[in-house]
């Protein structure tokens, strides 16, 4: 029934109702995250936040959204999600850097709309963790109703997924897959070796291209190397053009990966899950990696046992850039409440807690000049809550992306009735068209 309602809602959503003209959200309690809180108005112009202040001049023709008693925060950013894609894992091989989420993005995945209804406006859609080096990732905005091209976050640095520990080694040691299906590696040592070998190969590949370019520059006859779509993204990592988002749990494997990256001269952009990060926060800080973790989700497997709810706060206090992610289409609908837990566990301030799901993940994805806080010049990605977003009782009322209204609770509720009727009538019609066949 829940599915039905949301599906019904999607058809009725008509983004663009507030498109084009300037918009003023007035009399709201504004949580800027980076510049404290105030009671006042936000002027949106051409999809950007034009002004934020206690008293603003309302331009002629501007649409006014009355928000007294309501809270506005920046659109929530989820640094680890698997929504909006028709495939997640290319688990057949230990290095699957040739595959990419962008090829299988599904802009009609209902989870996009549900995330939107939870205030999420930007998502890092990651490949799964079935292999040591996984596939390429896509940063998207939850622009429901738009095409793939419009879903993609313009200019975001491309990423790739790595994975350590149990998941990438499982296929090497689980006989139930069948003897021929066993896949190297079977141990944590093997995972390290797979990554080292892949980058050794990538270095060689880069050298081949450099040699070819040199010969060509001299005017010599030379056959170019064969383009290898598996190695190209790894070369991009070596050159700092692609971010590594590494799934990890244990302190020992975290240190292993940071040292391996140092050895090859590249950076781990974010450690994902990183449940034992609190043990090696100094080392993470020294490498410059971000940490994207859960608030209180653990013990679902052996390597995820030694976890504490203070992880995010402890890493943050050691100077690590920390975000809270969902890794789940359900959890991502209430990331504001996940952030609230960091106030209870670890005593972060409200702004620090909100930063875990806004400006911090924006920095981790290097999109903080565009999103993550309410500041003039940034994208108008804004969420209206009926109560303080760190309260259990809060609900999302409206969501704007680029100044466009993408979710409106009232419109959603109205649309459900209409779509329910449409659905019933189609069902009846189609049941008549293909009556059940009688048994022979």
């Amino acid at each position: 029934m829940k599915t039905l309602r949301l599906l019904a809602a999607l058809a009725a959503m008509a983004p663009g109702a507030l498109q084009g003209a300037d918009i003023v959200i007035q009399n709201a309690k504004i949580l800027t995250v980076t510049r404290g809180s105030l009671e006042g108005s936000i002027l949106i112009s051409n999809g950007k936040i034009a002004q934020v202040g206690e008293k603003l001049m309302i331009p002629a023709g501007a649409q006014v959204v009355e928000a007294s008693g309501r809270y506005v925060m920046p659109g929530i950013i989820d640094c680890h999600s698997h929504i909006a894609a028709d495939a997640i894992n290319e688990g057949s091989v230990s290095v699957s850097s040739m595959v990419g989420i962008e090829d299988v993005l599904n802009p009609e995945d209902i989870d996009i709309y549900r995330a939107l209804a939870g205030g999420v406006t930007t998502v890092n859609v990651l490949h799964g963790s079935a292999n040591a080096i996984g596939g390429k990732c896509s940063v998207i905005k939850t622009r429901w109703g738009k095409s793939v091209r419009e879903l993609l976050f313009e200019g975001a640095t491309p990423g790739i997924k790595f994975a350590l520990g149990e998941n990438p080694k499982r296929r090497g040691s689980t006989p139930s897959f069948g003897a021929t299906a066993l896949r190297y590696p079977a141990t944590r040592m093997g995972v390290e070796d797979v990554i080292r070998e892949a980058f050794t190969e990538a270095r060689k590949y880069r050298a081949e291209w450099k040699a070819y370019d040199a010969r060509k520059a001299k005017g010599e006859r030379a056959l170019p190397p064969r383009r290898d779509l598996k190695l190209e993204p790894l070369v991009e990592i070596l050159e700092g053009k692609r971010f590594v988002h590494a799934h990890c749990y244990r302190a020992d494997e975290i240190l292993m990966l940071l040292r391996l990256a140092d050895e090859f001269g590249f950076k781990i952009r974010t450690l994902q899950h990183v449940l034992e990060g609190y043990k090696v926060a100094n080392e993470i800080k020294a490498h410059g990696a971000g940490a994207s973790t859960f608030s209180d989700w653990w013990s679902y497997k052996v390597e995820a046992y030694d976890a504490i709810p203070y992880n995010a706060a402890l890493m943050h206090k050691r100077g690590v850039l920390v975000s809270l992610n969902s890794d789940s289409a359900e959890l991502m609908r209430h990331l504001n409440l996940e952030a609230a837990k960091a106030v209870k566990y670890g005593g972060l301030t409200e702004d620090e807690a909100l930063a875990l799901v806004t400006i911090n993940p924006a920095k981790q994805l290097a999109i903080d000049s565009r999103v993550g806080s309410i500041e003039a010049g940034k994208d108008a990605d804004l969420v209206l809550f009926d109560q303080h977003p760190l309260s259990n009782y809060s609900k999302v009322v409206k969501v704007f992306i680029d100044g466009e209204l993408y979710f409106d609770r009232e419109a959603d509720e109205k649309a459900r009735i209409k779509d329910e009727l449409r659905k019933r009538s189609l069902e009846e019609k189609q049941k008549k068209q293909t009556p059940a066949r009688r048994p022979a």
Partner: protein
């Protein structure tokens, strides 16, 4: 004057007979030429397998067998734009009473270089058996030809325009190879590609490899001395031989995705599936890719659990699919029909009629079964319409094919007349 008047009777006992006069004329029939407007009364003359003349005032040659066309409609031979007709189905090798054993997995593939699920070099004519029962059944339904694809794997092989009559497969081939048929199969979790993402990466790498292979071999051919030879790769040879790529796309998401992906391949692309085309029209039209529309419309499964609820999206697609051809026609996108999983002539006709009921004109529907197929595959210079000089493939129907009671009276394939197998459908229906 040898003037044999051939009287068509609905003789139930008539065997499938191939009449073989060299010259044949259909006189005073309604004629859909596909290339021009329909003629209410006209004559078609066929000589030695080719159309000699067509028109309102064409004289019947003295040496012709004549079919009196009053009440008949003559169409260009219907052609299935994507099929496996003529290729014998793989026999079930499991001994009776035993559960069929899963086909042995090939060696585990570790990446695109292992060329998994790839039979790009296989051509349809290698597999077509002229005696396969699907050929006679297709003729009984009014089809004279089909673009046949071998159909297995991701790189499923090369298609050929086959005329649906002949003693040898070689005689049936009108043009080959016409395209590489791609599907989105995966190998399961343990062998590459194990996901839809992997399939895309695989196809992309193979086309890159093919271009690289071609360029390397050309360089080598110019000056072999001093250069290491390039290994022969049949998978790449197959890819290079095919003049176009067929990509599957049914839903809006798939159509838009394949429009993006197809552009990357830098080769002529044909999309197949097409049911959600109306919603993806902007992208499809801008791509310039023609669309093969599957006549097997999505339906509520007859054995569906009565308590099962379909999503609104699924319901809407079922509703919209038969209107896709009309939308494509309106947008000016080139499209043709293929029969998908439909086999019985009545089902195929009913499916085409649904598209007509949803707003497609009969002329456009006929075109999608004839000239448009030929144009999409680049063989309109020899087939697809009733014009002098083209191959004499004709479908002759008593009345209007789209009417339920209309009977296919005969098909003419390469100038040879075949009558429908009487009772063919009854025989096929297994006793329940």
């Amino acid at each position: 004057m040898r003037h044999v008047v051939f009287v068509l009777v609905t003789a139930l006992v008539a065997p499938v007979c191939a009449e073989t006069p060299g010259v044949l004329a259909v006189r005073n029939a309604r004629i859909f030429t596909a290339s021009g407007p329909a003629m209410e009364r006209g004559t078609v003359v066929v000589r030695d397998g080719l159309i000699e003349a067509v028109g309102a005032n064409v004289p019947v040659p003295a040496d012709a067998w004549v079919i009196e066309g009053a009440g008949l409609t003559v169409y260009p031979g219907f052609t299935n734009a994507l099929s496996a007709w003529g290729i014998p189905r793989q026999a079930d090798t499991a001994p009776p009473g035993r559960r069929p054993v899963a086909a042995p997995l090939g060696p585990v593939a570790r990446g695109p270089e292992d060329r998994p699920l790839n039979t790009s070099w296989v051509t349809a004519q290698e597999l077509v058996q002229p005696g396969d029962p699907s050929i006679e059944r297709a003729r009984s339904g009014g089809f004279t030809s089909a673009v046949v694809f071998p159909g297995a794997g991701i790189f499923a092989g090369q298609g050929a325009w086959m005329n649906l009559a002949g003693e040898k497969a070689g005689h049936m081939v009108v043009a080959s190879p016409l395209g590489q048929h791609l599907t989105l199969r995966t190998s399961g979790f343990t062998s590459f590609p194990g996901s839809l993402m992997g399939v895309f990466a695989y196809i992309r790498q193979v086309y890159l490899d093919a271009d690289y292979y071609k360029a390397s071999r050309e360089i080598y051919a110019k000056e072999p001395r001093g250069m290491k030879r390039v290994d022969y790769d049949r998978a790449l040879e197959g890819v290079l031989a095919a003049p176009r790529v067929l990509l599957p796309a049914v839903t809006k998401v798939e159509l838009e995705r394949m429009v993006r992906f197809g552009a990357e391949l830098k080769r002529p692309v044909v999309l197949y599936g097409g049911h959600d085309a109306a919603r993806a029209m902007e992208a499809v039209k801008a791509s310039g890719f023609p669309v093969l529309v599957n006549l097997q419309w999505p339906e509520r499964p007859r054995q569906a659990d009565p308590a099962q609820e379909d999503s609104l999206r699924t319901l809407e697609l079922r509703e919209a699919a038969p209107a896709a051809p009309a939308a494509l026609a309106k947008a000016g996108v080139k499209f043709a029909f293929y029969t998908g999983g439909l086999e019985k002539p009545q089902e195929i006709r009913a499916a085409a009629k649904k598209a007509v009921d949803a707003g497609l004109s009969r002329e456009e529907a006929v075109r999608a079964l004839t000239l448009s197929v030929a144009e999409i595959y680049g063989v309109a210079d020899r087939a697809g319409s009733i014009e002098p000089g083209k191959i004499a493939n004709l479908t002759i129907v008593d009345g209007d094919w789209f009417q339920e009671r209309a009977k296919v009276r005969a098909v003419i394939v390469d100038g040879v007349k075949y009558e429908p197998a009487a009772e063919a459908e009854k025989k096929e229906e297994p006793a329940k």
